[in-house]
């Protein structure tokens, strides 16, 4: 087998050196009866060529040739060849968590840079080395608020990504947390009245997303004040991180939970991406996840180490701030390289292109009789439209035009059954937007 660096003769030599007659002897501690007598029923072995062919065939059974207007937490943005070149360097790709700092300074400095970029982006003071994704980051942010406040009620905007809310509920169920949802208004923003009515001094966290699942940008100021006044913590989730190139960061938040997929990570049918938690310095000892910190070596030179590990499970065990161990380091590295490439101007320009394209798309769609904007609040690169027909039917027609239509809201929001969230990024060409508009027009006419 090509991955195994041993010849038959070497195997024999080694068994002899160990002092056993055959390899079976080494498995003698497994009761005989439970040792497999026949080979596993697995496909293969395949040569490299056949492995490639298998996946090429699967790839052909997917969405090749279609133009998509889906966002809803996963965005199609430009990615650079440079990013991929870097993360494929064996020195990054095939190294472990940098527990032995002296021989993993590359990874540690890159994490330190990632933490810095995340702070700059979110307007927060500290950020960790990554969480699994935006959904678990949001949940972990709530658990962090729970630890910091000692309270157990959680208010979550209904306009937070439905799957993020599901994950929160899964984790909350057994942690004694009570999750309540707060609705939205015609602006697409949090219903301030309902929120004020719900918040009390038993609330640990208020969770909103901005831009939210409808694409609407929340106004955080007043919300933060009320939250603060109640002694609760404001958790702001960000699923479309590119928005932070053009939209004020959630500086009012106590904790920001972000999905960094937009920064150089492929959609890849749902993962791997990279979640981030950013917060205030004073809360750092309650943060989950790894942290790289600057220090010096025995000769006074700058270096980096994993630090504040006493928060983590391998030291604190049942008292840890989280059970997370393996995180999404390589994805965070990709995001670091990507953002370094984009830089200040690149990210701003990219964000403003998204803004322009989404506004263009809305303007064009609104020209279709019966198509209207659902919410009045400001938006970035996603917006919700109401159609005069079932979105599923319209999308079925669009499919025939090789277009994957906008996200159908009806399943998660029954009250919005004829509404859809359209996503347009810098990768969507004007021609593609025009094809969508023509397709919707046709579908509605049919």
């Amino acid at each position: 087998m090509r991955y195994l660096p041993k010849s038959p003769a070497e195997r024999q030599e080694m068994l002899a050196a160990i002092g056993v007659k055959n390899v079976e002897e080494l498995f003698s501690s497994i009761p005989e009866k439970y040792r497999l007598k026949k080979a596993l029923n697995l496909p293969g072995p395949l040569s490299e060529q056949e492995v490639i062919r298998y996946f090429q065939e699967r790839a052909k059974e997917n969405s090749g040739g279609y133009t998509s207007f889906l966002g809803a937490g996963v965005y199609n943005h430009l990615r650079s060849v440079v990013t991929d070149t870097i993360i494929q360097r064996g020195e990054f790709l095939t190294s472990y968590t940098p527990y032995q700092a002296e021989i993993t300074q590359g990874t540690l400095q890159a994490i330190f840079e990632f933490q810095t970029l995340m702070c700059q982006l979110t307007g927060q003071e500290v950020a960790n080395a990554s969480m699994y994704d935006g959904s678990t980051a949001t949940t972990e942010a709530v658990l962090m608020a729970e630890r910091l406040t000692g309270r157990t009620r959680v208010l979550v905007a209904r306009s937070v990504h439905p799957e993020y809310r599901e994950v929160l509920r899964t984790y909350a169920k057994n942690s004694g947390l009570h999750v309540e949802e707060i609705s939205y208004t015609t602006t697409g923003m949090l219903d301030a009245k309902a929120f004020k009515a719900a918040i009390r001094d038993d609330v640990c966290a208020v969770v909103v997303q901005s831009p939210n699942f409808f694409g609407t940008i929340e106004t955080l100021g007043p919300l933060a004040e009320i939250t603060k006044a109640a002694g609760a913590m404001l958790v702001v989730a960000v699923t479309e991180a590119v928005s932070l190139g053009a939209v004020k960061p959630p500086v009012e938040a106590d904790i920001v939970a972000m999905e960094a997929q937009s920064f150089g990570l492929a959609p890849s049918y749902g993962g791997p991406y990279a979640g981030v938690i950013a917060s205030r310095e004073k809360y750092v000892r309650q943060m989950p996840g790894r942290l790289s910190g600057q220090t010096v070596d025995s000769e006074g030179q700058r270096g980096f180490v994993l630090t504040l590990a006493t928060r983590e499970q391998h030291i604190r065990r049942e008292k840890a701030t989280s059970n997370i161990c393996t995180n999404q380091a390589l994805c965070a590295l990709a995001a670091t390289v990507h953002l370094t490439l984009l830089g200040k101007e690149g990210l701003r320009e990219q964000a403003e292109q998204n803004l322009a394209k989404a506004h263009f798309a809305l303007t064009e769609l609104e020209k279709i009789p019966g198509v209207t904007r659902t919410f009045s609040g400001p938006f970035f690169n996603e917006f919700t439209v109401a159609l005069p027909k079932s979105v599923k039917l319209v999308n079925a027609e669009l499919l025939k035009e090789k277009i994957v239509g906008p996200f159908v809201l009806g399943t998660a929001y029954p009250e919005l059954s004829k509404n859809a969230v359209v996503c347009v990024t810098e990768t969507t060409s004007r021609g593609e937007i025009e094809r969508l508009v023509a397709g919707v027009r046709k579908a509605l006419a049919a």
């Binding site: 889906l70 996963v74 940098p98 700092a101 810095t116 830089g343 690149g346």
Partner: protein, 503 residues
Amino acid sequence: MSEKIKKATRQTNQNEGLIFEKSSPGKRAFELPPLDVPAVDPAKALGEAHRRGGVDGFPEVSEIEVIRHFTRLSTWNYAIDLGMYPLGSCTMKYNPRVNEFVARLDGIATEHPYQPQELSQGCLKVLQLLEKCLLEITGMDAITLQPAAGAQGELTGLLLIRAHHEKNGNPRKKVLIPDSAHGTNPATAVIAGYEVENIKSNSEGQVDLEHLREQVTEDVAALMLTNPSTLGIFEQQVPQIAEILHAKGALLYMDGANMNALAGVTRPGDLGVDVMHLNLHKTFSTPHGGGGPGAGPVAMKKVLEPYLPTPVLVEKEGGKLALDFNRKESVGRVKAFVGNFGVLVRALAYILAYGPGVRQATEDAVVNANYIRKGLEGVFDLPYTKPSMHEVVFSDAIQKRNGVNTMDIAKRLIDYGFHPYTTAFPLIVPGALMIEPTESESKEELDLFVEAMKSIAKEAAATPELVKTAPHTTRVRRLDEVGAARKPVLRWKAGEKRSEAAD
């Protein structure tokens, strides 16, 4: 450095500051295609209050500076691609390059999780085939691929157990965890709403059945067993343990992080395990990437299937695959979307390359660990002498006499051209040297390792200071971890003096 060190030599290596220290306004490393729709005024479109002009402090550099920056940084790392990485419990095996290739294919990397399922049959087939393979390897009945890593797999497993007990009227209170377990086990149990009760290993590193019988009451939801244990020893009494638990309605959870010792040789499902997770980033070779991403699928017996996280992959009539989001008894989702799909792709590519030959990998992994054990027995203290499986755990008891501990030896190993073994656990072995070579090491590399370890043992006796101040050959010397934690500096701040850049 010295005649003794055969595997490494010092070489000139580039210094590099933080990327922020190279920034100068107006440099660009990435350009966008021109905008093909009318530009909008962000202040107008967003409202002045929401408008941001750009991210303060963000770097402004050129493409070549980015390439150099990260290339230089990369050369400061050790990696499997450079040599043996014997971190115990981490299964640092070869990460095949073809797996990287297939995970990046157009039609694989490009797919959106919400695209219509009729346009996702390729992705769903990958998931289905991987599920089948993992079920065959574990001997289980049902599986979820959603968890992002081992720890999340553990949580998922305990949530399934909890749902099962709740269905039976009582979620129960406690989870039993051996003292040799990885830190994630107790941390996870707490998140799942359980109290942790430790179980002591006996002097052979095995579960004490007598004690266990006493500990297992109707309050116990489950026992979390790592097998082989973190001592690298196979727990022989799994069927008996399962029996004891089952007799009280409790379930047996297996931490499958060490499946690399068992794949193709024995199946947890056959041994009586009810639910377990796998670390695809260990046993199934997906790259660690400096700490992740991973994937922690959870396989289970039939009895737990109703509680699977959503969505569940199902095959419809006519062979079409679909995701079922509508599962009444589900524990809910543990993560957005179907899981770390790109990692799952790599794991399947690995399995397909081996086929039934995974057994050969397992055998080689166990041969390698025993070869090291044989080579170092006597030189280092072996606190548990039961047969080793995929890893061997020594202690620093002998070297301690000269004031040299496992961390010192580990750091000195760096000078010898190796990544250190695991030092931090198992906690039941004070001063542990937890060595897992995996099947990916050649005899040549193992011989060099054994020789290096012996040489260090001699140094520990003859020149302990040399070992205690190691490493001596790295670009930075031993780093001050205590200082780092005392006054944490966790980010670069503008205005910090640039002179450090070239330090």
